[in-house]
Amino acid sequence: MVKNGCKMSSSAITKIQTIFITAIMIVAAVAGASWYYLSTSTSQNRVKLTFWSMDTDTASMNSFNTIARSFEASYPVNITVVPVDWGVAQTKVLAAVQAGNPPDVSVAGMGWALLYMKMGALVDLDQVVQDIGGTSQFLSPSMLYENQWNGHMWGITYVSYPNILLYRKDWLATKNLTVPTTWAEFENVCQALTGNGRYAYAQPVADMNGHKAIWCWMMTDNATIFDKDNNVAFDTARTVETFDWLSNIMKNYSPPGIASYGFSEDDLAFKNGQVGIIWGYGEMLTDYAKNFPNLMPNVGVMDFPMKTQLGGQIGNENLVAFNTSDPERIKYSRMFIEFILKPENIVGTYLKNGVLEAAFPSLKSLSTSSEYSTLTAASPWNSTINYIATQIMPHETTMSMAFQGNLYAGQIEGNGILQKVMEHILVDDWTAQKAVTDGQDIFKTLVASG
């Protein structure tokens, strides 16, 4: 009996325990769902915004957080700044938009604003542009090309990163060479610098910087992807000429395996003294000055040598506001973008904490502001900054946008089409004509598929 009594007790207790645990799990699930709902909605009368930044370095994140806190001090808003790596940013934003949960404000790469606009994901920034002084404020037409469509502004450029060539001054001096300004001169310099385990030129091909480097050279021969009427016009004599010439430079004067080079391999080859001229950005100068002080005195900056015109590629970073269907969030998103563009924020915080010789202000009001003049005057890179701003930036364009904007720049970048064309020539031994014709077909398919 006692034995039976014990058995009955333990089984009853087991049942009670089971019911109790189940009840706790249900309560926890409900509490979690409620917390999530409450945390994403307006609470305590403060609007919650998320800002996705592809500038994930410490200085940029600190700058954006400082600007966000400053904005929060003036408005009933809580802003969460989220770092999102460039390499996965476009995919993550698209997935977030499809899931109905986009950020409120985000950094956008070249042409990404029009890609998001095509999806109906953005709200226009016409009023913000008006408030900052109108479209005449933009320092480069490229800033309009990649953000303006059907008379509306869908993004605003906040900084620009001009592409440059870095070179070894000592190598040129040893061979009594001057800085080349034409393709023919560049080829002569490459020929003179290559040999004894050294190579003249390197650029990225395999990673997402590859299309920027290729576009730089295309622009120096007026080779485009879209013509003035926005029709695909990639397969032209000039494009074939550019790819033919550039691939010969890389086959003869670049390190073996150049087709597999990304930005880091390009940079490493220069630092290791293997290569004399590389494609890059101004921020590499800061890296060399800090980490390779012996190299720095021998590093110079030059423009891209021309064939028919001055050219190059400028990387604009833009701000966009997403259509979250919440009027309050949209209102403060636009206000936050305008706030970022104030001189004391973009110049006084972001550029001040950043790399002045790489990132350049986008608006006339910013570049002529006293804050910017003071910063650049005090910078050890003052002459380099002036050279890039006055001699290189003015003739650079955003990738694929030589004459006007197009809706495909984001996809062209993501698909790596220009890199694929070059890889076919370098790796598969295709002729330039065959590779360019193949590239033309890919562009046409891209446009036809919407």
Binding site: L94, E265, A269, G416, D428
Partner: protein, 299 residues
Amino acid sequence: MKNLVKGTRKDWVNLGLLLTLPMIIWIGFVMIYPVIYNVWLSINNVRLITPGGGFVGFDNFVKLLVNTEFRTSFLNDFVWTSGSVFSEVPIGLGIALLLNTKTKFRRLFRTLIILPWLTPAYATVFTWKIMFMPLYGFFNYVLKIVGLIKTDIVWLATTTPINLVMLSCIIVNVWRGLPFTIVILLAGLQSINPDMYEVAEVDGASVFQEFRYITLPALKTMIAVVIILKTVWYFNYFDIVWLMTRGGPGMATEILPIEVYITAFYNFQLSQAAAISVTMFLVLAIFAVAYFRLTSKGD
């Protein structure tokens, strides 16, 4: 108290079902629903960035048949999978045989072989890519020292006459996948009755004959299971090739999982990507049936 213990076996079964219902719903949501949705996508026309849609039947599958990129990716995937599997199994068997012998530090070696399995994919690829570099890489350095080459081999950019890029990816994959193969085959070796080898030795059998007539037949089923599982896994494998080459240069290493990713997230053609993945599913279903038949035979 009497009411609490009143309950038949059926009541307990119902309680068990009730308690597991949340997990069943979750599994259905996370595993079964995406498969069904994927099939639905493949027979419609859905693009990520532009409006459109509607039932298109088998159009997406027909497009695949005439799509040269799909054919190239399929062939690449076949080379990648068969190259990885049929390198890994013999090497794994060889190492398992060595680890099965009574040697000093056997336990240490058995622990060390797990290391590639534990290393994250990114760290693995990062290290191997440095070793493959033409100018500063370890492999070219060693090959030059021993006199096998005079000029640097460009491992990650040579596709003719041999696709060294694909070979490099396979080498990395085999290195990473070997531990699993070794562990499975070693377990199989240890289940063979050692008396059989003693009898064979008494009968005058050579080492090779023992391997051929005792070891291999005993491991036959296990080897087949490893081949089938690895084939299914590697046919679907994304991370090693993506991290190594992103499917390049050109299309030299673009395997089907990478093509699905590019089609969906770079070309924004969701339905086309779904059609590719349904095709992959059907191909792998054949291997799944073979696996179930093999394992149920063992039962």
